[in-house]
Symmetry: C2
Subunit: 376 residues, 2 copies
């Protein structure tokens, strides 16, 4: 993996990540393909929206169909017919949030599958092995996502465990990668504490990674607090490596995190919101389940380049959700990912042109349509 | 509406129906867009498969969002963004199979919505009014779909009621259409009885319709019995009008009904089967929920022009259904409608070339792959 920084605009960065499977223009948003599919989307649609890279969930894929099975079927890219690079998470976050009876130890985390109750053990080494079997071009270390809120002591103990696991992950990666050119990212933890974030970043830099993720945010601390943590965390990260803010976020989160020097994001929000009838638009968020849309002949956004936004009436979208038709989630996932990727393209162009400040001011101003909710 | 008969091959016919919204190449298969959407398909995909016309269900649409609502939103074509003609059924069949407490009388049928229990009355006049509000280019008379099995007496009484309703439907159509150029089809009933089918056809011809549907089949009588009824019913229909076999059917049904002079079909089978993990292929039907596909790297049909058939492994499709992912029904509905429309294109070309007999022999021979179920 190679990272080339092309432009900066204040703290914001415009760059390109080259992987063996293709390039990623940054700042980049990675749609989440949890179980080997970006939900309710054809992979070609995801690509056509300007998506360079998608995320796969190690936890889901290790349980179904299994990492060895995916490897036997040619890797995750071939399995899901995604024509581009893939980043996998470590599985740790989902184990703690989805699995049953998860039990942490120095060795790793033992848990039962939420699907069939089967017992599994995820260690830093096994996580890297799974991500290698999946054929991920960017892999991440197993860490403990520190709970929120956490005292300084709890956050410190947790971060120290993550640091030890990061070192083990790196050793495992060196054993498994064997010159394939794929990348390993470390994950900075430390809760909302500046000293801990700095200590975590320093320890990871000492181990040495291809990129640095910021973990443990978007867990309930709120937008402002997240930005405050980024304000003191991002400057502690190397300039010449990509910075990835995990599991974030809302359009506002993305815009202001980009302004703070973040290069990569992933979030289920656009697709999950789409499946629940929430549409992101230039002017704000529209809840299409709301009865006030039942007679509205207007499209979501007559100026959008996305057929889902431009072609269908709000009344029709409302009808589709009322009838639980597949096409409702299909259209809104498409609309929402289109909105997100258009926003990212706008951010990239603004950084290139050195006018990110004006872009953000416009972004804030646009949400003036009283008919719809302001964007998160 | 205009019907042009272009070629015949024995009893089979190759033709074209011209409607105010575009032409329909016959023999034609009409995908079913029950509630204003062909389930799990984008309308452009349906079109790109070579679909000329889709069917909308009067029963579903009169309940949600309501016929007047669809009319206010520019008609069903605009509502669902279908760029072509639409045929609607009368609603009668769904009232009897889906609604609660349906009660027939000379006037019509009173019923309660299966969605919210609200009371409705469907008469021949109201059915035509609804179909007019929906903007259907081909409308059909309200009839009683005779139960199966039915004695001669029951089938006769039922057919006589349908005949009286057909006359009322025609009067209502003349009042509502007012020179718009859309069409009304009568429906031949009479169960499995030759004398009743002939009497029904004769009475409908006396009333005069733009096309003639054959109703009351595919209700449990079986493939052979259906063909036997077609053998004596189709010759009683006018040569210069399209003949539509309602709610049919399996690929075998289509092939042999075309050979007997049927021009139009509709059926939920390809999309419903697709949502349940059943794929239609040249070689037979594949149940992708079956565990034996879990490790199979082969696509459904490496020679298909449809990406859903050619691009994804059976193991991946199996995985999608195991995980209840949207993409499973999306891909198999696509594959199945592609299979159906390719079959129809093949039938049309065979009739043009005067080699339908050879085409049918090939069709029967192809199902030789021991790995999959023979086609219905």
């Amino acid at each position: 993996m190679k990272f080339e920084l092309q432009n900066t605009d204040s703290r914001a960065r415009r760059g390109r990540i080259d992987t063996p499977r293709g390039s990623v223009q940054t700042p980049a948003f990675m749609p989440v393909g949890t179980a080997g599919t970006v939900k309710a989307m054809y992979p070609t649609q995801v690509r056509d929206l300007g998506t360079d890279i998608v995320l796969g969930n190690t936890y889901h894929l290790m349980l179904r169909p299994g990492a060895e099975e995916v490897a036997a079927l040619g890797g995750l890219q071939n399995f899901m017919q995604w024509d581009g690079p893939i980043l996998t998470d470590s599985g740790g976050f989902q184990v703690m949030s989805l699995a049953k009876l998860a039990k942490m130890s120095e060795e790793g985390v033992r848990f039962q599958s939420h699907i069939d109750g089967s017992e599994h053990m995820l260690t830093p080494e096994r996580s890297i092995e799974i991500q290698t079997l999946l054929g991920a071009n960017i892999r991440v270390v197993l860490d403990e996502c520190t709970s929120f809120p956490a005292t300084h002591e709890v956050a410190q103990t947790s971060m120290h465990l993550s640091t030890r696991w990061a070192a083990r992950s790196k050793s495992a990666f060196e054993k498994f990668d064997a010159g394939q050119g794929d990348a390993l990212f470390g994950i900075v933890q430390g809760g909302v504490y500046e000293d801990l974030r700095h200590e975590s970043a320093g320890a990871l830099i000492d181990i040495g990674f291809d990129g640095y993720a910021v973990g443990g945010l978007a867990v309930g601390e709120g937008h402002e607090e997240m930005l405050r943590v980024l304000d003191f965390t991002v400057p502690a990260l190397p300039h010449d490596a990509p910075r990835y803010l995990m599991g974030v976020g809302t359009p506002h989160d993305l815009v202001h995190a980009v302004a703070r020097g973040i290069d990569m994001f992933d979030c289920v929000m656009p697709t999950r919101a789409g499946r629940h009838g929430l549409a992101y638009t230039r002017r704000g968020k529209v809840n299409l389940r709301n009865a006030r849309h039942a007679h509205d002949p207007r499209p979501l956004d007559e100026e959008s380049a996305c057929p889902a936004a431009r072609q269908y009436s709000r009344a029709y979208l409302h009808h589709l959700f009322k009838c639980n038709e597949y096409l409702g989630p299909m259209l809104l996932s498409w609309n929402n990912l289109h909105y997100y990727q258009t926003l990212m393209a706008g951010l990239r162009a603004a950084i290139e042109a050195g006018r990110l400040g004006a872009f953000i001011a416009d972004f804030e101003r646009q949400q003036t349509d009283g008919d719809i909710m302001p964007l998160d």
